[in-house]
Amino acid sequence: MRFMIIVKATQASEAGVLPPERVIAELAAYRDQLVRAGVLLDAAGLQPSAKGWRIRCAGTKRTVIDGPFANTRELIAGYILIQAQSKAEALEWSRRFPNPVFDGQDGEIEVRQLVEWETFGFGAATESWRKLWVEMG
């Protein structure tokens, strides 16, 4: 099973300020631990929401809303995708995540499990999901 460790944005990340050397070193060491344990699948940091946009859908109408966006705590600054044998293992890895915040505020990391075929097992639910996926693709 796979889990996405989502790092929430902070004022600093939204301002495009790079973390200090110490935090970068901690994050690199953590990433290295994941690699050496064979659990890291993918990871990336995200640029500030000022460089992003949203598309609001209303029926068939599409409206582009340019960033930056308010509610910094609802934004994300990066993610790490890991493969774990159990929810408990993913929890343990996320517990070890270094504090990504350096501007004096509290940091937050959110972990979500990916939807996978094995979530449903084989059967009707898998097939309907598969159809949906094929239509989307």
């Binding site: 631990q33 050496r36 064979g38 159990s86 408990a88 293992e89 929890l91 898998t126």
Partner: protein, 419 residues
């Protein structure tokens, strides 16, 4: 109660993450992986007793290692007492274990352990052991799996696995296998054994040879994990990256190769939008590592390069079959086998027409190694059907159905035999 079961799950998760490093670090000191594992298990028992009440320590890996080392000291003292051994020996060993201070950091546990982990992998896959024993020992010592989990994954009785592990440890002790990374000319053969064990675990999950499920993803995941760990321990070995690339590409298709009833879907018929892009990308990255090393492709890398041809094609008709046929040629030279020849025949059929493939397949008819291999009649039947020779194709599918050990596959073959 809920709280305690949660704590138990947490301990198990930590065990899975830390156990191989702890066993490896202990094995270097005690020079006996059987004893190392017992000491680590003792530490696990202590954790299961204490952590639910006292909470999980900040550095659980270091905690487990310290407890295991203390157990070892106790053991030595106990022995010395009973055998009236000189107290100097005890003191000497205690001196060696001075670094067992509980202040070790994660880095201190990780760093020197990398080499130990590699040694542990080589020992667990030692050629003095049977293949089954290597697989069981690898999953147990490096995967952190319990005997019960291994038994469940391989559909064998738990006591069978337990016995295999006990015997394997005894064999290693009797053979006085050294806890070293093999050097020079020995390395290639020993590394091949490690790769073979990992790929065997993967294949057991990917093309289950027994049982009614065609896929056991937990085994594929475990093999991928072991392979990725090995790549960090032996990054200069091209075939390690070759094997990872091969497994990543194959795993990327896992959920496209069975339908809702769990029946297999052939590569050509698979819905390629279901292929996992993350794993495909990882496969290409692993292949690129071999190029970066300036090394040529070994057998695993060649198979991965073949899988990459499929990954690159957005539809089955876009597949570069001539390249695949050429890669099989190279593979047949490097690692000749009737199974590779059979695959080459399929590639030839795709590149140059079913008649060309059939000619190659017919050349294999007398091959004793393929006498009971269900894919030979299965491929032959397929090529005959493509040539419109259905009367000849049907008995081939029936023969293939009689030979396969997989229920799902048998069903599919019998259906083709009736068409």
């Amino acid at each position: 109660m809920v709280k305690s079961s949660e704590a138990h799950r947490a301990v198990e998760a930590i065990w899975r993450i830390e156990s191989s490093k702890i066993i490896a670090a202990l094995a270097r000191r005690v020079r006996d992986i059987g004893l190392a594992e017992e000491l680590a298990q003792d530490a696990l028992v202590a954790a299961l007793e204490r952590w639910p009440e006292q909470g999980i320590p900040d550095n659980p890996g270091a905690w487990l290692l310290v407890v295991a080392k203390r157990r070892f000291i106790d053991l030595i003292r106990h022995k010395a007492l009973h055998q009236h051994k000189e107290p100097e020996l005890t003191r000497e060993i205690e001196g060696q274990l001075q670094d067992a201070a509980p202040v070790e950091t994660d880095a201190a546990l990780d760093e020197p352990v990398a080499d130990d982990l590699l040694r542990l992998m080589f020992v667990a896959c030692h050629p003095v052991l049977s293949t089954e024993a290597r697989v069981a020992l690898t999953l147990r010592l490096l995967g952190g799996l319990t005997t019960e989990e291994i038994a469940r994954a391989f559909l064998v009785a738990e006591p069978t696995v337990a016995q295999r592990i006990v015997r394997a440890k005894r064999t290693l002790a009797e053979a006085r296998v050294s806890f070293e990374v093999p050097r020079g000319s020995e390395l290639a053969g020993r590394l091949a054994s490690v790769l073979e064990v990992i790929y065997l675990i993967f294949n057991e999950g990917y093309a289950a040879t027994a049982g009614d499920r065609w896929l056991r993803p937990e085994l594929c995941d475990e093999a991928l994990r072991l392979g990725r760990i090995l790549a960090t321990l032996a990054p200069a070995e091209p075939e390690v990256h070759g094997l990872i690339a091969l497994m990543e590409f194959q795993a990327s298709r896992a959920w496209a190769r069975v339908n809702a009833d769990g029946e297999p879907i052939l590569l050509a018929d698979q819905n390629r939008s279901l292929w996992d892009r993350v794993l495909i990308r990882r496969g290409f990255v692993a292949l690129a590592r071999i190029e970066a090393l300036g090394q040529s492709y070994g057998p695993y890398a060649l198979q991965a390069a073949i899988a990459a041809c499929h990954a690159r094609a957005s539809t089955a008709t876009e597949t570069d079959w001539q390249r695949i046929a050429a890669l099989y040629d190279a593979l047949a030279q490097l690692a000749p086998s009737p199974v590779v020849e059979l695959n080459r025949a399929v590639a030839l059929a795709m590149a140059f027409g079913p008649a060309a493939g059939l000619e190659a397949v017919d050349g294999l008819a007398a091959e004793p190694a393929l006498k009971h291999y269900h894919l030979l009649p299965s491929v032959r039947g397929d090529l005959l059907a493509k040539l419109g020779r259905f009367e000849e194709a049907r008995p081939e599918f029936a023969r293939a159905a009689a030979l396969t050990r997989n229920e799902r596959e048998r069903k599919m073959l019998l259906e083709r035999a009736r068409r």
